[in-house]
Amino acid sequence: MRHLSRQLCERFVNDDPPDGCVDDAVAAWKRSSGDIREVLRAIFHGPDFWAAENVRAKVKTPLEFVVSAARAVAAEPDTSPRLAQVVARLGEPLFLHVAPDGYPERETAWVNSGALLDRMNAAVALAAGKLQGVTVALDSIVSAGDVDQMIGVVNERILGGTMSENTKQVLRRELAGISDPVQARALAVGLAIGGPEFQRQ
């Protein structure tokens, strides 16, 4: 019970969850005789869930990265397994984890230099509409046009308003040199999705 509660907290709160939220989950488990809805409710409503040190503390798994990226650009997946192959290339072949313990939750399992570069490449390809298995509809997210306006929309629609000042500056500088607004938009979206803010849940 405690083990599973801890795993749920690792999944939703932090790779190293505070004891408090695990205790809360265990208490809810006991109260409800193991109703997982009650256990999850206890985790989501606990003080640790929204504590500053736990918000955006977790790095996306490759699956979460690909799915969130595809959603962020309103991508339409085709019926082929090609998008799932992208997830596999990023290190998480679906349903093929070798050991019987499931894919790990900890960031150390997913973040390494090669994997990060792969995510950046996938992001650039996705934004350019060149990622296999999906059709991208950037027009529905951000219209190509003024640089500052595009950066603002990318921040809101893709990064949920978490874009750092540094990222804004880099985007501004990179986009300034590009005359074609469609290309500039693809670059902004690619850098945003491949950038550090988007790697966190």
């Binding site: 790095v59 290339r89 290190g91 070798v98 050991a99 019987p100 960031e107 150390t108 399992a109 973040v111 390494n112 230099s113 090669g114 994997a115 990060l116 570069l117 950046m120 490449n121 650039v124 750092s164 540094n166 990222t167 500056q169 880099v170 990179e174 850098l191 491949g194 950038g195 550090p196 803010e197 790697q199 966190r200």
Partner: protein
């Protein structure tokens, strides 16, 4: 805030000058005078993991023991096909490419080596062999990574510890920087034109340098340092030396890329690659067949690697490892099932070669582990510890193998004194 490359590179502790010819030349000159005084930071350990549990008995064949032939009527390697090594043991014929290395005393085998833990689960046994803590599941990092954490005499470069494959293996997981490279030529940001690639690379580099935190920050820094070094290396242009002919497939490619990094002198100290396909439960084969094919590729790849590296091999040790061995007796499907001890190979200039090391327990049922498998007489940590201590110069082995006291008296003697 913009971070210039100079600051970036400096903060990463990257020694770009190691690309130049001078350090290599100086090192070689030093070796010529005092061959025993090789600086430890030029020594390299290459680890190959034979995942799936290689049948040590058909790799290093105890052809001098009639029990071997009694227990394996269909899959024993016939006496006349075995390449005899010492009158009792012999090489599988498809490892013929390794025989000259054996004769040159740069190849040794350690037989009856394995884990003190009795598990016959691939998952658990691989986990223990990589964590270096048999029986302990909770160990968060791998022993190669712990070695890198604790041996601070070797400089951390982006290429100090590299795993060749899509994911960082357990053995290299941990806080010391380590790289996973699936394809050296494709490592980096991809773009149709070099100018666009450089521009994108710089933009991402600045995004991460400015806003990433924690592991995202350190990993991205390692990534971009490695990308810069590789750019100078131009891996697409690499041609193996001395007519070395690597076999097609993942292993040949991994060893070719390891050789390339060694020659580029980028600070590689620990390299790792997987070799799969050893779980031969069904139709294992004997002189020919399934296992023979895998061994053929292994032998060819190691021979090509040695040939390609030439002189460089004096500082290189290659170690093969596998999670356990296989049953002495063949099963009903002309294969072998999960066993206990297996054989490992060590190859390279520093190796005390031309001999089968380790205490041979014998194949009598009474001498076997649980009546069925080759018993373990050498704890794998004794071999790993010997290589770390005597080859790489590790000092604090208790930190690398917690709960284990490495004792030089138990080292199998894989390296020349």
């Amino acid at each position: 805030m913009t971070i210039s490359r100079r600051v970036f590179v400096k903060s990463g502790g990257l020694a770009l000058f190691s690309f130049g010819l001078d350090p290599l030349f100086l090192a070689r000159a030093a070796f010529a005078v005092r061959p025993s005084a090789r600086p430890p930071d030029r020594r390299i350990l290459v680890c190959l993991f034979q995942r799936g549990a290689v049948d040590g008995l058909n790799m290093i064949v105890p052809h001098g023991d009639p029990i071997y032939y009694q227990e394996r009527p269909r899959i024993a390697v016939p006496e006349q096909d075995v390449l005899d090594l010492d009158g009792y043991f012999g090489l599988h014929p498809r490892l013929a490419a390794l025989k000259p290395l054996w004769d040159a005393k740069t190849l040794a085998a350690i037989h009856a080596i394995g884990s003190p833990d009795a598990t016959r689960s691939h998952f658990d046994a691989q986990d223990y062999m990589e964590s270096g803590t048999p029986g302990v599941k909770a160990t968060p990092d791998g022993w190669l990574n712990r070695y890198c954490q604790h041996d601070r005499e070797h400089q951390d470069t982006p290429f100090r510890a590299v795993a060749f494959g899509p994911q960082l293996p357990r053995i290299l997981a941990g806080t010391a920087p380590s790289l996973a490279i699936d394809d050296l030529r494709a490592f980096g940001i991809r773009a149709p034109r070099p100018a666009a690639r450089d521009r994108l690379t710089r933009a991402f580099e600045e995004l991460y340098a400015g806003s990433a935190t924690g592991l995202l920050s350190t990993s991205s820094r390692e990534a971009f340092e490695a990308v810069q070094m590789l750019k100078r290396l131009d891996p697409g242009q690499y041609r193996p030396a001395n007519g070395a002919d690597y076999p097609r497939g993942r292993l040949g490619k991994a060893l070719l890329e390891i050789a390339q990094l060694i020659k580029a002198d980028v600070g590689l100290q620990v390299a790792f690659a997987d070799v799969t396909g050893w779980d031969t439960h069904v139709n294992q084969g004997a002189t020919e067949g399934q296992l023979a094919g895998r061994l053929g590729e292994l032998g060819q790849a190691l021979a090509a690697f040695t040939r390609d590296l030439g002189e460089w091999m004096r500082d290189v040790v290659v170690l093969t490892m596998s999670e356990f061995g296989r049953t002495v007796r063949e099963n009903g499907s002309s294969g072998t099932d999960h066993g206990h001890a297996t054989a490992m190979l060590v190859l390279g200039g520093p190796v005390n070669g031309g001999r089968v090391l380790g205490k041979w327990p014998g194949l009598n049922p009474a001498q076997r582990f649980e009546g069925r498998d080759v018993a373990v007489t050498t704890d794998f940590r004794d071999l790993f510890a010997e290589l770390l201590a005597r080859h790489l110069g590790a000092r604090d082995l208790s930190a690398v193998f917690p709960g284990f006291s490495p004792d030089p008296a138990r080292f199998p003697g894989a390296l020349s004194a």
